[in-house]
Subunit: 236 residues, 2 copies
């Protein structure tokens, strides 16, 4: 049995406090497991659940009328998905790309927990604020960087976020995204992602093979992408 606050606290990409107990008593969180490549919830569904990623990778995206999709968030462990004021149809879909363990809480329940205040309310607000920063940088990335620097920036961001969660070391991490996924994150085509990764590899900047990313020349990557990890900070 795990309270929501404990959950939030115990997922280091998102929240850092490691001791203490919350005042809010959730009924206890039990995780559901979704198979890799299954859809957790679908755009247009009329359900109320808020998801908390326990482990695994997921993608949050919107499907467009012409069959394309745009991924708007790449939640790692600890992320809260689907919190909002109103009821009504979901605006985005959530897919598991690896086996995925998620908790779900109802909108009402989380709302009431925020109303109750305390560290949980703070953590929720902090989490949402940090996500705002990540999304803002996503906008900058797609809006104003070219294919190479855009791709480099995203892979640097992933490395930082994963290393906070202890899932990356020496610039090396497992990344289950396909080039097609990457394209839908970066607002490019899969073909061009392929060519861009080739360029990065040929310039000895990074390699992305068989689900593993290796940053080779991090310094040069950071410079060319204008990467400043301030927006990913979660400490203090």
């Amino acid at each position: 049995m795990q309270t929501l606050l404990q959950f939030i606290r115990s997922h280091p990409d998102r929240a850092v406090l490691e001791n203490g107990w919350g005042k809010n008593n959730f009924s206890g969180l039990s995780a559901k497991i979704y198979k890799a490549h299954s859809v957790v919830c679908r755009q247009g569904d009329d359900d109320d659940r808020i998801f908390l990623i326990k482990s695994g990778w997921a993608l949050l995206y919107r499907d467009l009328l012409n069959g394309e999709r745009q991924i708007v968030d790449t939640p790692l462990q600890g992320e809260i998905i689907g919190f909002r004021r109103t009821e009504g149809p979901r605006f985005e879909s959530l897919s598991a790309i690896t086996d995925l363990a998620v908790f779900d809480v109802s909108r009402k329940e989380l709302s009431e927990a925020v109303f109750a205040g305390g560290e949980l309310a703070q953590e929720v607000a902090y989490f949402l604020a940090r996500l705002n920063g990540i999304m803002a940088e996503h906008i900058v990335n797609i809006g104003r960087r070219n294919a190479i620097t855009r791709t480099a920036h995203f892979l640097l961001e992933l490395e930082k976020r994963l290393s906070i969660a202890g899932l990356s070391a020496q610039g090396r991490y497992a990344c289950p995204l396909t080039q097609h996924d990457l394209a839908d994150i970066l607002g490019m085509t899969a073909v061009h992602v392929n060519r861009t990764l080739r360029e990065l590899r040929r310039a000895d900047l990074l390699s992305f093979k068989a689900g593993k990313v290796q940053l080779i020349d991090r310094k040069k990557l950071v410079k060319m992408a204008g990467f400043d990890d301030e927006y990913l900070r979660y400490d203090l």
Copy 2:
């Protein structure tokens, strides 16, 4: 004298509740006025203030090393800007494009207010969640829509947000953005924004002249842009 909750509540693009009083007593909010085209705070500044737009238009953006910028948010009245967990240098700049009235609150003060819970904490969380939705749609817009549909989508979004705030009627609203600003919102060049607006005008879809937007064929615009205003809802 105005409490923060009253403030949040009284700005209809962002929050809807209109009656009742908060439990949190802010020291009272007094607005500062910034002249059109002045910079309210600058990326890299080491201050803690959180801004609440009282009236006027502002732009939140990041400057890149090559001199370009990307606007990540177009705050209207009622928006909260700069809330986050950590101290440290600001990640984005905020500029006034019209004369602008803003309140500011310290990060610590707002954090404590959220800790105290109640409707204020809820409103803050709801606000952040809604902003997340708007930013997600911004990502979709830049990542997967072409110049025309992208521009149309943004102008439809503005119309909806402004009409919620009572600042648009019959598809007509004042919009103080220059084509250059629009370009920095949409991830395009100013030249191409100009051509795109010309196309929209020639197709009798909308006009944007002298700071006024007039949606002419809203139905067609909505269809071509795939505009679904669900993410802008604030009611219930």
